[in-house]
Symmetry: C2
Subunit: 248 residues, 2 copies
Amino acid sequence: MLEAARQIQAPAPHACGGEHAGEGCIACQVRPLSICGALADEEMAEMSALAHRSCHASKTAIFAQGDRAQNVYNVTGGTIRLSRLLPDGRRQIVGFALPGDFLGLSLEDSHGFAAEAVDAVTLCRFTRTAFSDLVDHKPHLLRRLHSFAMHELSIAQEQMVVLGRRNAEEKVAAFLIGLRDRRARVYSHTSVMIPLPMSRQDIADFLGLTIETVSRTFTRLAKEKSIVIVPDGVRLLNVERLEALAAV
Amino acid sequence: MLEAARQIQAPAPHACGGEHAGEGCIACQVRPLSICGALADEEMAEMSALAHRSCHASKTAIFAQGDRAQNVYNVTGGTIRLSRLLPDGRRQIVGFALPGDFLGLSLEDSHGFAAEAVDAVTLCRFTRTAFSDLVDHKPHLLRRLHSFAMHELSIAQEQMVVLGRRNAEEKVAAFLIGLRDRRARVYSHTSVMIPLPMSRQDIADFLGLTIETVSRTFTRLAKEKSIVIVPDGVRLLNVERLEALAAV
DNA sequence: CGCTACATTGACCTTGCTCAAGATTAGTGG
DNA sequence: CCACTAATCTTGAGCAAGGTCAATGTAGCG
């Protein structure tokens, strides 16, 4: 997930499909590197030279749990779900990656979770060796990556509180407020319209609930006029109330 | 938490109390740096020069949630609980730090969680500025820290699966097996005797359960002869069964 | 010995899960 | 553009895992 502290403007929506997914995609007119805000121009140029842009259609896998980790990715557009599967099929979504986030930074040689495109996703891909070489020559960049990783860890710990100590209503409120805040950082402006490209099942698997409980909770929040449910998202009405439910 | 990949021998138990806790403690005859396995001799010497050894008696705070983060710590002995508190008093323990683990590596300026000594704890303390300067001159060390952080993140994600998708019995089994595996890495040998210096309440707050459910689950596992409950710990009897319950 | 903190056990209750039936939406082909 | 199908979402009824409350047991300590 690893959010960039400062974020460029949102990439324009585009519809490049699966036929060239996973490979360099010259048709995608997106800014190549979300991380750019953190780097000097020359570093940007150096990284761009190493980057392969790629697109993934909705619901396609970017990599599977246990796959050999051969690439590092920087998300430039769309939403990715990161999930771990138990042997019996139970699933836990450990996070949603938004533009600016990194995937595959772990130095372990296989991915600990699966990454799947929730909607149309654009990525910058680096081979691990190229990325590693680059990092070796740019301690500044490594510090930045480490800072991302620690922020990521902090988000993971907050999610532990949500999973371990919050009830269904608080979980859903924390999810919506958390998503609003992350989007605000990514797109540099806050909004009460929260697009939800992920399914109810995805939300349930993120919050440790069932799809039915998520659905009922959305309905209840809508009945009490805390939110309005719209196609592919919600609009926050009573932000105070939601923030109180989500309060850290 | 941040476990060291290779670990020196366990520090000898000692009883330095609270009266000089938090400050340099020349009486503590512990190896100064758990991280040493990862470093060259000269680096070791350089780090040791910057380190202040300190001891914390059982149940004393090392730092509080929200405290200004002024130090980096490396645990050399004992067990530390890392916890987040909700405004209404609910508590989630986000991890237990064992010898070799780092605290305060985050670059944010205040601690996201509280750290409290579960039993007698010995630490190596660095001021943040000194540690930061050191890291600036040792990219090798920074890489190592980043690798620790990513491993930590992986543990946090596994804990999300435990909290979100496992039942009480599986949670307790995962806790015991996880602790056994971490201790095996720290002390370089595996054992079916698992010391549990933390209280039932701590375990409950780590697993997102109540103290009663933890107690009942221990009792049930003991009745079915999967474990034996001993003072301040458990002995694993049916490791196969526990590993199956905890299976990833 | 008695106090305190911690752990265990029991009885009962609530939240969220399971199972099942509809409702809505999205996709597809005529 | 509409009809048909499949997928997703919502809603309801009943249930069970784990929580709550309360009593009892046990260990450490002055």
